[in-house]
Symmetry: C2
Subunit: 404 residues, 2 copies
């Protein structure tokens, strides 16, 4: 992509109406636009990061046998009344039609839509287990939305739902999803700072679990056990004051962001919607369900929050909008290399703009693409290469770029 043709420009100043570091950096780099508090549009560079996150998550979901679907945001009030959540779900957006008597929910989660769908297709023990997921926009009527991409009124979620014949099969799949989530954090560059965190139990078990990423902007707090490095949440500390794994009592307290969650729903939704299957003897049994979420906006915000310096963003390679940022200081001097890179299938943003070298260098640091390339009179036939994370530059041949 030629930067001269890019829809967006970078902004010199931090936006005044933005309190969060993640959104402030992403707005300055031209990745997102703040539509209002809690709602951000993805601009071309931001959408490229979003698509890479989406593809990594999709691959990992497919690898554990989940099939992709795409549900609606508009849902009938009746489904939410069936579960009692029309009144009980605090952040539910409710819509009254202006031209008919219909009331709708604007979905913050999809159990109320998916359980009736599953009822059409799950009939017998032969139809189990099943797992489906979607990557779709969600809505929450949040009172305050000040944390940028971390807490939105509209945001994208990957939501996975699983269906099982019994609790043991649900347990096995829950563990599989947990391991897959840890792979996802690693692939998006958050592996080293994300903890599988033990939390107080839900309805079905002594413990539940969260995925928490260390960040000073985090709204949560976790406690990392000094002895075995397992993380636990505040409730466990308050209740039992010891590590559920090693019994240790020394913890270091850290701020963190919840990047993913997993729940054993049991029969919470299959009961009201009467989602049952026939076992081998023909007996009708309620289906066991699990649900597993990852907020894509939140993951992007967490990466921005935790991977930056005073000059701007520092994208992990797997989710960077482009791998290379090619800068020229004399009009057209990098045009041939750009063309060759495109032919070789290398992902490159080419700064061919009529602006000063200083502005190009500052923008490259702000946008945060992993490898900066400079072609100038000084570099001759070579190319100056600098990693966004390094201070030093090296001169390399073109061939070297294909091996990085």
């Amino acid at each position: 992509m030629k930067q001269s043709e890019l829809f967006t420009k970078t902004l010199r100043e931090a936006p005044k109406d933005e309190e969060s570091k993640n959104a402030s950096l992403l707005i300055r780099g031209g990745f997102i636009y703040k539509v209002m508090a809690g709602a951000y549009a993805f601009l071309p560079l931001g959408l490229r990061v979003f698509r890479k996150l989406e593809e990594i998550i999709r691959e990992e979901m497919t690898s554990i046998g989940a099939e992709e679907i795409l549900m609606t945001s508009l849902q009938p009030k009746a489904n939410w009344e069936t579960t009692g959540r029309w009144l009980d779900f605090d952040a539910l957006f409710k819509i009254k039609s202006q031209i008919s008597e219909i009331d709708y929910a604007l979905a913050p989660t999809h159990e109320e839509e998916l359980t009736p769908i599953a009822k059409k297709h799950i009939v017998s023990y032969r139809d189990l287990p099943k797992a489906v997921f979607q990557i779709q926009n969600k809505f929450r009527d949040e009172k305050r939305a000040k944390a940028g991409l971390l807490r939105g009124r509209e945001f994208f979620m990957k939501d996975l739902y699983s269906f099982h014949a019994d609790a043991a099969d649900l347990d096995r799949y829950y563990d599989k999803v947990s391991k897959t989530y840890m792979k996802i954090w690693k692939r998006v560059g958050l592996g080293k700072i994300t903890y599988f965190t033990w939390a107080s139990g839900g309805t079905f078990s002594k413990y539940s679990h969260e995925f928490q990423t260390l960040s000073e902007s985090g709204e949560d707090t976790i406690y990392v056990c000094e002895k075995c490095r397992v993380a636990v949440n505040e409730e466990i500390i308050a209740e039992q004051r010891e590590c559920p794994i090693c019994g240790g009592r020394e913890f270091s307290k850290k701020k963190s962001i919840e990047v993913g969650n997993i729940f054993k729903l049991g029969v919470k939704f299959s009961k009201p919607f009467e989602l049952r299957y026939k076992d081998k003897s023909g007996r009708e049994i309620e289906v066991q369900m699990g649900c597993y979420g990852i907020g894509l906006n939140r993951v992007m915000g967490t990466i921005a929050d935790t991977s930056n310096d005073e000059k701007g963003l520092i994208w992990p390679e797997e989710v960077a909008p482009y791998k290379f940022h090619l800068l020229e200081f004399k009009k057209g001097s990098a045009a041939k290399i750009y063309k060759r890179m495109l032919e070789d299938g290398l992902e490159v943003l080419y700064d061919d703009r009529d602006v000063s070298p200083g502005e190009k260098l500052a923008d490259a640091d702000l946008i945060g693409i992993p490898y900066r390339l400079i072609v100038s009179e000084k570099t001759g036939k070579k190319i100056e290469l600098k990693k966004r994370t390094d201070k030093k530059t090296t001169l390399v041949n073109y061939e070297y770029l294909r091996k990085i």
Copy 2:
């Protein structure tokens, strides 16, 4: 994909609460689920068709220099007041927050969000022309929604917006988009029955244009000139009774579905949002805009409506959920061929279920995958191949499949 593991089953009976032929066929085949009137979820097979449509449209948009973005559905009331459409847009869903004093629009179209975004990034004549598009869910408060995927309360749109320095440049881009749309209809299998249709003019020109696909389920009527085969809409017939191209007066009247629309917006939105650019002399001039839509649900519904027989759907190859449907009549007898097809990267749905040959054959016709393959005792080492559109079968070697 093994059909035994597929999330969905086919339905023998047409759903009772569905009046439209397109949705009825798609529900029976397990492509979609009716959440309520005007809102359908895409199930695995349906999502595969949706993704193919999406990818064709994305490729064609990129080919005319449009950059992809992704805007929000939740929009501030203030933006819609700026254009006067908070009160004037009939089908606008309005949301009142339950926990704050905020009012939102649930977007049926995105000029109110995009024009302010463009204002941040379009400043000078050097920033023009620009074009951006998204593929995103839209909402309309429709009084009646009985036409299945043809008229929804929630549906996916590709919406493209272009920005120009003057009307002549807008005209050129408008023509380019028109040609690209015709390519899209061809690629999705609607080329032969879709007409670039002349309609009565908007604010800026004597004529406007629509894209109309012939279908008995269509809610529109077009008139095809017998002399030059150009299509015109009802208004032109009422106003001038002659073909705007050849002056002919003999028309054949046909029912049709509007699958795409294109508009020259001029300064309709740049005026209220003060979207201006500085020309070479520093003078501030309002940006000329165009907008161009394609409804993806509607295109899928139109294909279902126009490409079927009494046995079920007939997918055009480019948008079929899979290219091959592999059937076995004895457990495991096609397992090796399936494995080989996967290794060769062929797209195949493998009916490995424990059901009768009759049920498999009926389901294959209902689902409508282009090439049906049968392995049985009769076929020996060969494979029986049948096109969904043909009656006759042929015996082929495996190698032949790779050449289709």
